[in-house]
Amino acid sequence: MYLSDLSLAQLKKELQQQGIRLRIGPFVVSLKSSIASVQSCLSLLYDSYPLALDEGFSDFHIRLDTPPSYRRFYKPQVRFYFDEREPFKPLPIAHAFPLFEWGLNWCIAKYVHQYLIIHSAVLEKNGKAIILPGAPGAGKSTLCAAMMLRGWRLLSDEMALISPSGQRVRPIPRPVALKNDSIEIIRAFDKSAVLGPKSYDTSKGTVAHLRPTHDCITRADEDVNVRFVIMPKYQKDSHTKFMQLAKPEMLNQLIRNSFNYNVMRESGFDAACKLLDQSECFDLVYSDLGDVIKHLDELVMF
């Protein structure tokens, strides 16, 4: 059964009462919320996700609600509860859905240590995955969104879950978080793109989420070999250019961009080294989305 099998009214009721249990990649997330924007964004962006009906075990228990106080009426806020504890400060209610996304990222980064987790996008084509570690502001999310709309399978826009052997990466497809200008860039890039509503004035500016393509969700159990690790950088008016990057330098980048290297320690070092042993590493500069994707298509063709 999928989220889309529930009518909006039914979904709202369940989210408000006993909650729903959603299968997101390798995790089962138990979710409750009485906030309308959260309910409608879930309905739009998570429609193809399977519901976990039979199992009684959830990996994370999340609730997003407005506190029962005067704040309900004056500058209302949203609170994020992880098993009824609040790890963050409340945010304005207009940021409720982004808070769910960030909160779920936090849960994974904090409590999942059977993988080495790198802050990066991961996409696959022809059985080969590319990891794109994320320097903030480098345009990673825009590129990731565009690649997905051009037939690449999204494994994640935010975190690469790398197996201890270093060779495979596990999918955890989620809506792609787009910020500021990239929202309209992606809308123009592909008219079929399904985007959630914009949230203004968040700590990252204006944010909207792009629904993952159907293929990404149906194949969410298929992990894949990593073949390329590429640091992308959008540079206005530049030509698409790949520059080979030394592996020790790329290792430093992976460590710098890791959420849990300090927990994984030696096993993280092993996994990252083995990953790089089997991959080619590049810096990538580009300005034209269509052109850079064409080059990336060629990279994985053989």
Partner: protein, 107 residues
């Protein structure tokens, strides 16, 4: 870790990879080495020369003259003042990073 033990004159102590409880995990690349220290949890990038220095110390503790001699022999380098100076400086850097420590030789 900041400065070496002030009570040991600089030529009478032996340098050790720090220490019995911890190990170095190496990975070799075309372009050099990465090393993970199980004590500090830190990862460092080393070129061939500094990596060889650390590996020699790992196999047996040495003072500066001894280490310079071993280094010169293993990489066919001239055993001169420049090499001694290099070894001195690299050991200070390794100490700062918590990779090595100096101990008084007990006779």
């Amino acid at each position: 870790m900041t400065s070496s033990d002030a009570s040991i004159p600089s030529d009478s102590g032996r340098w050790y990879v720090n220490s019995a409880l911890f190990q170095l995990k190496w990975h070799q690349w075309e372009e050099g080495y990465s090393v993970f220290h199980t004590g500090s949890g830190e990862t460092h990038t080393l070129d061939d020369l500094s990596a060889q220095c650390l590996k020699l110390l790992e196999s047996s503790p040495s003072n500066i003259p001894e280490l310079s001699a071993k280094l010169a022999q293993s990489l066919s380098l001239d055993l001169d003042d420049d090499l001694h100076e290099y070894v001195d400086k690299i050991l200070q850097q390794f100490e700062y990073l918590g990779l090595v420590e100096k101990k008084r030789v007990s006779i």
